[in-house]
C-alpha cells in the first residue's frame, strides 16, 4: 500500500472528490431542488398566513410581504447557481475572519476544516434553505471538535456577537448529516511542512535519497545552490536556505487563503495542491524537488548554464501529467480574486434577493431543533394528546416500578 493507495482509502477521496462537471451538476441539482422547496414553502406559508389573518409567529417576520397574495408566491425569484456560489464563497471568507476575531488563536487546519465543512454543506444544501450566517459558527465549532482543538462552548459563544450557545448547537446535526458523517478533511498544510523539511535536508546535503536515485546528496546540494531564478521570481534571495524559507512563507499564504476558498479540495488531492502552491512560490525549486522524486526525469538545460527555460526534457508519463495538473491547480489558485468594491455591490444585491427567497420554514433553526428534540411540541404549550400519552406512560412506569420493588410481597406479608 503506497501513499496514493492510502489517500484512496480516505473519505475525502471516496465521497468528496469530483470532476468539474460532476461538481457543477451536483450544485445545479441542489439549486433546482431547493428553489422548488422554497416556492412550495412560501406558498404554504402564505396561505396559512392569510387563513389565520396574519398572526402567525412561526414565520418570524418572514419576507412574505408581497408574497401574501394567493398566486404571487409562485413568482418568487430564486438565487441562481452562480449567485449561490458567490454567496457561499463570501461567507467562507467571513468564516476565516470570524475565526481570527476570537481572543484565542485558532490554528490554520481548524479554520480550513471549518471552511471545507461549509463548502461541503452547501454542495447539497442551498443558502436559500439555510443561511450561511447560521451555519458558520456551528461549522467552526464542529471543526474545533473534529480537529481535536477543544474550546468550551460557552467560551466559543462569548466570542461571537449576537449568538447564543443554542444558535451554535442547533444546526450541528444537519451539518453532520450533510457531511455524510465524514469529518476527516485532508489538508495540504502538513504536506508543505514535509516538503520543506526534505528541501532543507537537500540543501544541507544530508538528504536520504530514494534507493534508485542516480545522484548523491552532495551532487544535489551543488545543483541546488545553482538553481536559476527566472521570470517573475526576481526577489529570490541568494542563499538556498533563505530561498526555501521564502517559498515556504509564500506557499503557506496561498494554502491558508486561496486553496481553502476555491474548489481545489474537491478537484485535486492535498498533495497536488501543496506542490502547486510551492510551484507558484518558486517554480525552479519545485521542479528540482520533483526531479529528485522521479529519477528517470532529466532536467535541462543544466540549471547553472542558462538562467531561463528551466524545464524537464525527459519526463515519465506520470510526471508530465502531474506537471499539467500542477499548472491547472496553480491557475485555479492564482485566479482566486479578492473581494473588491464591485464584488461587494454584487453581494449586497444577492443578499437582498435572498431576503425575498428564503425558505420561511427553515429560519428558526433553534426552534426547529427544540421541536425535533421535544417530539414536535412548541415551547410552553404541550399538545393535549402528547400530554395525555406522557401521563399514561408515566403512570404505567410507576406501576411497573412498584411491581418490581415488591408491592406484591408487602401485600403477602400483610395477609
Amino acid at each position: 500500500m503506497n501513499e496514493d493507495d492510502l489517500y484512496r482509502t480516505s473519505s475525502q477521496y471516496r465521497y468528496w472528490s469530483f470532476t468539474p462537471e460532476a461538481l457543477a451538476s451536483l450544485r445545479a441539482n441542489t439549486n433546482s431542488a431547493a428553489s422548488a422547496r422554497v416556492k412550495a414553502a412560501i406558498k404554504r406559508d402564505g396561505s396559512k398566513a392569510t387563513g389565520q389573518s396574519n398572526g402567525n409567529g412561526a414565520t418570524n417576520g418572514a419576507p412574505h410581504g408581497e408574497a401574501n397574495g394567493h398566486d404571487s408566491s409562485v413568482d418568487v425569484e430564486c438565487l441562481t447557481v452562480e449567485e449561490e456560489a458567490k454567496f457561499v464563497r463570501y461567507y467562507c471568507t467571513v468564516c476565516l475572519q470570524l475565526s481570527d476575531s476570537f481572543d484565542f488563536p485558532i490554528p490554520i487546519h481548524v479554520k480550513a476544516t471549518a471552511v471545507q465543512y461549509i463548502k461541503r454543506f452547501y454542495l447539497t444544501n442551498s443558502p436559500m434553505t439555510y443561511h450561511p450566517k447560521q451555519i458558520i459558527p456551528s461549522a467552526l465549532f464542529l471543526a474545533t471538535k473534529t480537529e481535536n482543538y477543544y474550546i468550551a462552548l460557552t467560551k466559543f459563544a462569548r466570542g461571537i456577537k449576537k449568538t447564543s450557545e443554542a444558535d451554535i448547537l442547533a444546526p450541528e446535526f444537519i451539518i453532520t448529516q450533510a457531511l455524510r458523517f465524514t469529518f476527516d478533511v485532508r489538508h495540504p498544510h502538513r504536506a508543505l511542512k514535509g516538503v520543506i523539511m526534505e528541501l532543507g535536508a537537500l540543501s544541507n546535503g544530508t538528504a536520504a535519497l530514494l534507493p534508485q536515485h542516480p545522484k548523491t546528496s552532495a551532487q544535489l546540494k551543488a545543483e541546488m545552490a545553482q538553481l536559476p531564478r527566472d521570470g517573475n521570481d526576481q526577489g529570490i534571495p541568494e542563499r538556498v536556505s533563505d530561498r526555501i524559507n521564502r517559498a515556504y512563507e509564500l506557499a503557506k499564504g496561498v494554502l491558508g487563503s486561496a486553496a481553502i476558498l476555491t474548489d481545489a479540495y474537491f478537484l485535486y488531492t492535498p498533495s497536488q495542491i501543496c506542490f502547486a502552491a510551492l510551484y507558484m512560490a518558486d517554480a525552479a525549486l519545485t521542479l528540482f524537488y520533483l526531479s529528485t522524486k522521479f529519477p528517470d526525469a532529466v532536467l535541462t538545460p543544466p540549471p547553472w548554464e542558462s538562467g531561463a527555460g528551466f524545464k524537464f526534457v525527459e519526463t515519465p508519463a506520470v510526471l508530465s501529467k502531474l506537471l499539467r495538473v500542477l499548472e491547472e491547480v496553480a491557475g485555479l489558485l492564482a485566479g482566486e480574486d479578492r473581494t473588491g468594491r464591485e464584488a461587494k455591490e454584487e453581494l449586497r444585491r444577492i443578499d437582498k434577493k435572498l431576503y425575498q427567497c428564503r425558505n420561511p420554514e427553515k429560519m428558526d433553526l433553534v426552534g426547529l431543533n427544540r421541536a425535533v428534540k421535544r417530539d414536535g411540541a412548541v415551547e410552553g404549550e404541550v399538545s393535549e394528546s402528547a400530554a395525555k400519552r406522557r401521563k399514561v406512560e408515566r403512570e404505567k412506569e410507576r406501576k411497573e416500578g412498584e411491581d418490581l420493588f415488591g408491592g406484591d410481597l408487602k401485600k403477602d406479608g400483610e395477609s
Partner: protein
C-alpha cells in the same frame, strides 16, 4: 487384543494341559512327542498331528479319520494352523479365495458408487460362503464369474504383484543409497582430517626451514585450507545435485500405473497479521532528524522531549501527507463514477418529495431532520 488372545490360550492350556496337546486321532500327547505339530486341511478344518497325516494320507487321498466327517482329504492341502480359532482360519481362507477372484480395482469403475456397489455384492457372496447360506449357488456364482473374467482377473493380479514388487524395489534402493551416503560422508571426513594433518606438517616444516615470516606462513596455510574446503563444498554440492537428478530418473522408472496423481498441499505460509499490507513508502526515505527553523523550538520544548512523543512520527506523517495523492488524478479516476452515487440522498429525495407535492411531507422529514 493380544492380551485377550494370550489369556485365552493360557486358560485352555490350564484347562486341559494335555487336552489341547493331544492329537484327536492317535491320542499321542506332547509328553510323548515333544516335537509334535498339528495340521489342518481347509476341506474340513479337523486338527490332527503331523505323524497322523503322514500315516494316513501318504498313499493318496483318504477319508478324514474324525468320526462323522466323510470328506476326502489330500496330503498336500494340509498346512499349519495360523489362527487359534478355527472359524477365523476358515473365514480368512474363504476371503482370500474370493479376493483372488474378485480383484477389481477402484480405477476400473466410473464412479465411486459403482465401486461401492460392487464391494457390497462381493461381501454378500463372501458372507453366504462363510455362513453356508445358499452354498451351492454362491459357489456356482463364484466359479462362473471366475470363468467369465479370467483375463481381467489375471491382469489385475499381475498389476498387484508388480506394485508390491516395485514398492519393495524402491525400499531397497533407498536403503542402498543411504548406505552409499554414509560411506561417502565417512570418506569425506577421513580426507579432511588427513589434509589438515598434512597442512600442519607442512607449516611445521616451513617454520623449521626458517625462510620467511612465521605469521605469513601461517596465514598462507590457513588460506590454502580454506580454499580446499570451499572447493570440496562445491564438489559436494555438485554430487548432491547429481544424486537428486538420478533420484528423479529412478522415480520416473517406477511410476505406478493407474494410481491417481496426488496434489501436494502448498506449504503453509508464515502468518501475516496485516494481511499483506505494508508500510513501505515509495516516494521518500525517512531520516532520523530534520533541521528546520520552525522545528527547533519544538525540539527544545520539554513537553515534546518526554517519553511517548516521537518526532519521527511527525516527520513520517508530514512526508506521507506530502506524497499521498500526488499520483491520484481525480478527474480521471472519478470520471466513471455516477453522480447519483456521489450525491447524498437528501437532494434527490427532497426534489422528488417536492415534485410529488405536500402529501409527502413525512418523507421530507425522514430525510431532513427538521
Amino acid at each position: 487384543m493380544s492380551r485377550v488372545a494370550q489369556r485365552g490360550g493360557a486358560s485352555s492350556a490350564n484347562r486341559a494341559g494335555d487336552g489341547e496337546d493331544i492329537c484327536p486321532v492317535c491320542k499321542t500327547s506332547r509328553y510323548l512327542n515333544p516335537n509334535m505339530r498339528f495340521l489342518v486341511n481347509p476341506e474340513c478344518y479337523h486338527k490332527m498331528c503331523e505323524s497322523c497325516v503322514d500315516r494316513i494320507f501318504s498313499h493318496g487321498p483318504a477319508q478324514c479319520p474324525v468320526a462323522g466327517c466323510r470328506r476326502t482329504l489330500r496330503k498336500n492341502k494340509f498346512r499349519k494352523q495360523t489362527f487359534e480359532d478355527i472359524q477365523v482360519e476358515r473365514e480368512v481362507d474363504i476371503r482370500r479365495r474370493v479376493a483372488d477372484v474378485f480383484n477389481r480395482r477402484e480405477e476400473d469403475f466410473d464412479t465411486l458408487l459403482d465401486y461401492n456397489n460392487y464391494l457390497n455384492d462381493v461381501e454378500d457372496l463372501t458372507f453366504n460362503l462363510i455362513y453356508k447360506i445358499d452354498l451351492e449357488e454362491s459357489e456356482k456364482k463364484l466359479e462362473s464369474y471366475r470363468l467369465d473374467n479370467e483375463q481381467s482377473i489375471s491382469q489385475n493380479k499381475a498389476l498387484a504383484s508388480q506394485e508390491s514388487q516395485s514398492a519393495e524395489m524402491r525400499k531397497m534402493m533407498e536403503q542402498e543409497q543411504a548406505k552409499l551416503r554414509r560411506e561417502a560422508a565417512r570418506r569425506e571426513e577421513e580426507q579432511l582430517r588427513r589434509e589438515r594433518e598434512e597442512g600442519r606438517q607442512e607449516v611445521i616444516n616451513k617454520l623449521a626451514a626458517g625462510d620467511g615470516d612465521a605469521s605469513k606462513i601461517a596465514r598462507e596455510s590457513h588460506s590454502i585450507v580454506l580454499k580446499k574446503s570451499s572447493a570440496r563444498r562445491a564438489a559436494l554440492e555438485r554430487q548432491q545435485q547429481l544424486t537428486n537428478e538420478s533420484n528423479g530418473a529412478t522415480k520416473t522408472n517406477f511410476s505406478i500405473k493407474g494410481l491417481k496423481q496426488k496434489v501436494e498441499p502448498e506449504p503453509e505460509k508464515p502468518y501475516d497479521p496485516f494481511g499483506g499490507l505494508s508500510d513501505a513508502r515509495d516516494s521518500y526515505v525517512l531520516q532520523d532528524d530534520y533541521d528546520v527553523d520552525w522545528l527547533r523550538s519544538f525540539k527544545q520544548d520539554p513537553r515534546h522531549n518526554v517519553g511517548g512523543y516521537d518526532f519521527k512520527e511527525f516527520y513520517d506523517r508530514a512526508l506521507c501527507d506530502a506524497f499521498s495523492g500526488l499520483g491520484v488524478f481525480i478527474e480521471d479516476e472519478m470520471a466513471g463514477k455516477e453522480l447519483s452515487s456521489i450525491a447524498p440522498g437528501s437532494v434527490t429525495a427532497a426534489a422528488q418529495a417536492v415534485t410529488e407535492g405536500n402529501t409527502n411531507e413525512a418523507k421530507i422529514i425522514a430525510e431532513d431532520v427538521f
